[in-house]
């Protein structure tokens, strides 16, 4: 393993993040606060408890997931797309590194940034609602796993994208709807039966449900099913990335 190279990629990517630290932090804090004001205070005051938890607290795990997933994807996809776009990818391809090292560097940095944002949102949430975390270790594990798996997905999108429109396409058209329909702001059990069945095909449902279980000890789907789902998703992304580098798809002629 070329750890020096991995560290170089990682720290180079992180430097980009810290260069714009203000907007990196302010924007998620602001949007989360807005969600709390609108959903928590304005609408939440008219909604009774959901699954024994106040509505304001109930949406916290979903809100964190929403930001973490979006951030992980956009950071990772941009991270690998940008060198392709400006042509600096030649250096990566001519360096004595293998695909695993490149992925660890880029995905690691994107996941770290997303994790950072997730933690900031959690801290912000404490200012608005009372929350206690039932399974802190499980919560952290879920958060990290989500960051990594969606950073992997973002990496795939970044390799695939041929222009900036395509870079936005998948997050906008697929990921955002899946996250919103994944139970970020409601419990799946609140939906009509048909929609409940359809929801079970949405992988994000398992993530949010598992994450919510770590907070409140109860969930829409069994925790093991959640773990299995995210494990499968991560494995699938890894397999695709392995194939990309094996064939040189979209990167090596």
């Amino acid at each position: 393993m070329n750890w020096t190279a991995i560290y170089s990629i990682f720290s180079f990517e992180m430097a980009r993040f810290f260069r714009t630290i203000a907007q990196s932090i302010i924007s998620p804090v602001l949007s989360t606060s807005l969600y709390f004001v609108v959903f928590g205070a304005a609408i939440g005051s008219r909604i009774q408890e959901v699954e024994g938890v106040s509505y304001g607290a109930f949406i916290v795990p979903g809100l964190i997931m929403l930001s973490v997933i979006t951030q992980a994807i956009s950071n990772a996809s941009f991270g690998i797309y940008f060198p392709k776009f400006i042509g600096t990818i030649f250096e990566l391809l001519s360096a004595p590194v293998n695909f695993l090292e490149i992925v660890i560097g880029y995905v690691g940095a994107a996941a770290t940034k997303a994790l950072f944002i997730g933690v900031i949102i959690l801290i912000t949430a404490f200012f608005f609602v009372d929350i206690s975390i039932a399974h802190p270790f499980a919560m952290v594990a879920f958060l990290i796993l989500t960051c990594i798996s969606f950073a992997l997905l973002g990496f795939i999108i970044g390799i695939w994208a041929g222009n900036f429109e395509q870079l936005q396409l998948v997050p906008l058209l697929i990921v955002t709807p899946l996250v919103f329909l994944g139970g970020s702001f409601y419990s799946i059990s609140m939906l009509p039966p048909t929609w409940q069945i359809i929801s079970h095909f949405n992988p994000v449902v398992y993530l949010i449900s598992g994450f919510r279980w770590a907070f409140f000890g109860s969930a829409d789907v069994p925790i093991l099913t959640s773990l299995l789902a995210i494990g499968l998703f991560t494995g699938l992304c890894m397999a695709v990335i392995w194939w990309i580098f094996r064939t040189g798809w979209r990167i090596r002629q």
Binding site: G87, T88, S94
Partner: protein
Amino acid sequence: MPTIVDIKNLRKSYDGGFEALKGVNLEIEEGEILALLGPNGAGKTTLISTICGITTATSGTVTVSGHDIITGYRETRSMIGLVPQEINLEPFEKVINTVRFSRGLFGKPRDDAALEKILRQLSLWDKKDSQIRALSGGMKRRVLIAKALAHDPRVLFLDEPTAGVDVELRKDMWEIVADLKADGVTIILTTHYIEEAEAIADRVGVIAHGELLLVEDKAKLMARMGKKQLEVQLTKPIKTIPKALQSDALTLSKDGTTLVYSYDTRAERTGITKLLADVADAGLVLADVMTRQSSLEDIFVDLVQEDAA
């Protein structure tokens, strides 16, 4: 000189069926400056990209210092630095950071003293904290060289290093190349500019249509292929060459004022004495006499035309 890069029967075809390299064989000697000359689309960049790992060959092998570029990619790539043709740099990054990144990416531990030496050598030290987008085109090219040198490569590929560069900077670039050669770095550069190859290369290779037409010591090449011409200017134009003078080597200019005589400098007899005597015997009066030696450019044009014919 031992061989450092050994290219055997290298072929590259693209999906559309286009053959960019048609079985290239080339041995690059350690410590030399090899100039690869060729028109656009000749396969120069494909050759370099394949050695560096950016494109994969269809068949054939390349070894660098005995290591295969596929199975021993870590060893070979650690030894190679690449300065690409296009200026590909992160616009918002500082010079020092991007050079430091390159060193780390190639697996070398951080060494600020080494980077300072490189940046000073390239007159970039004052600019180390500047954002790349604030630099001039020439400075950006230097940054690319600094990045390529950041991991102390033994072989440096310069893909058209002086394309679109002004005369002064081109001279600077040649000096940098000479310094690197003095440090023992093997340098392969591609260029359109014949004068560049003539000025700095030890050996010259000519590529056209994916084939290496020749590789030869520059001086030998010029001597072998170098023709010399004697131009005899007459005071009064003539319509035809007088019979006594007629030979394959002698031609008359269109306006009839100049006789052009081609000869080989290394031949036992150049025939100049006889020619001048014959000119005088024919009653022609000389206005001026001058000689001209063919440049590498003439040789190159001849070769490429021969190949196309």
